[in-house]
Amino acid sequence: MGESKVASMHDAVAELVRDGDTVAIEGFTHLICFAAGHEIIRQRRRDLTLARMTPDVVYDQMIGAGVARKLIFSWLGNPGVGSLHAVRRRIEQADPEPLEIEEYSHFGMVCRYVAGASNLPFFPIRSYFESDIPGVNPSIKPMRSPYEDGTEVYVVPPLRPDVTIVQAQRATADGDAQIWGLLGCQKEAAFAAERVIVVCEELVEDAVVRQDPNRTVIPGVVVDAVVEQPFACHPSYAQGYYDRDNGFYLEWEQISKDPAALEAWLKEWVYDLGSHADYLEKLGDRFEHLKPGERWSGQVNYGEYA
């Protein structure tokens, strides 16, 4: 990609996402980069380990398309709607092939990223007491505190994705990414990763970020590629830009239940399209009713200290 980090989605995925990688497309219901998931499907990556706190529809699409051999997660579902049927078929019936799983709780997953981002060998949490989860995941281990009378905690290992992909409302060409609304664990997942792709609704001048530095969640120093792709989260949402397309989440329940319908959807909406721009064109005016009204933040005075 040469000097500039700014790249097309095609080139960013082609260069930075490799067969066999551990890939995290993070975002807690908010700012889920579907466009990146679709590009990974289109480029037919294989044997990925997909990590994510809340695998939802985009991971059902990716796993249904056969890009992954393993899933690391803490909650699996179509949020507010139902199940991920492609994932369930692979777990329940090994159909069309098995899917290895490694599961945690939300706090456990977050702290795996925190450990990865902080270069720690493990992270202690007060969780999993009297739960069956550690019994099915030997990576969650009990430990006694060396202080304080030996309080029992559980520890989780660091998670260091080969690639983390996050969506931001705006970013500079260097990758300084500003996010508002739900923050999920994007910062932790980005700092934990070997390579980071930032996808943004808007590519902005450096001065825009410098005007409000507290809003920067991910600094360009850890970012490898910056993709400007408006509406890349559809049917997920970007606070202030567009709402969740709930109709699509409801439709997915039916598509995902039927392997033939899933295959047909992937062909029509991913394989037969060259890019996310084609996807948006095909969606047509479906976006119009998803645009929210305006509700601006106030301004703060950072002060001029010349």
């Binding site: 807690f28 219901t29 908010h30 706190m53 809340t54 997660f73 803490s74 909650w75 699996l76 579902g77 949020p79 507010g80 994932v87 369930r88 777990i91 329940e92 599961e103 945690y104 709780s105 939300h106 706090f107 977050v110 702290c111 925190v114 949490i125 007060r126 969780s127 999993y128 007491f129 009297e130 739960s131 069956d132 989860i133 099915v136 309080t151 029992e152 905690v153 508002w180 609304g181 739900l182 923050l183 999920g184 664990c185 910062k187 932790e188 949402y237 606070q239 709402d243 969740r244 709930n246 929210p292 509700r295």
Partner: protein, 257 residues
Amino acid sequence: MNGDGAYSKNEIMVAASSRTLAGERICFVGVGLPNIVCNLAQRTVAPELRLVYEAGVFGARPARLPLSIGDPTLVSGSTAVTSMFELFAFYLQAGLIDAAFLGGAQIDRFGNLNTTVIGDYAKPKVRLPGSGGAVEIAIHARKILVIMRQAQRSFVEKLHFRTSPGHSGDPEHDRARGWSGSGPTSVVTDLGTYGFDEETGEMTLLTLHPGVTLAQVRENMGWEPRVSPELGETPPPSADELRIIREELDPQGVATS
């Protein structure tokens, strides 16, 4: 709607559950019925109640019924938005949360919950969502409130998987050091309301909803229920509660009709 057409099963569940939040200050809330329960409590028995959503929003004032746990309407106008780490570490693990709602595919008599699998873990009959934050919530929220419909397949003698711990059932057992919460305190179903016995930790039927019999309760659970000697009747939803539910919280009847 039930026989006399006055209110639905979900409406009495919501009303009965909201009353258990009387006087509470900080509540961890999920979508669906618990969201309506908390918003109703805020307008009736717990005006000081502040809602914390699992997606990392504190002091939310949703302007519409949230479609998911991460609906953008939760963010606009809230008091604070936190990262997931802060939410689980500083709010929940540190013991700031007074009450939280949990549900599941299966519950046992001690309030242990299964949201992981039906059948064998390695080859499940049904793969459920998993813990999410449930295991941490079960351990650290001071009170756990459960709202779920009652049936033989969900109120079971033995869970297929214990995702989140309830009470141990062992009188000698103290919820270990490091737990901020005291476990399940209330279960509201479509048939009645339950508390938990202080000594044994066992779910105890406190009230039957109007028109429900003890026989119906027995038919819809996998163990012989412990019944309070003062078994009473659940007060039906008041006109005010019904008005708030129908006009303000769920005007389209998505969750409560």
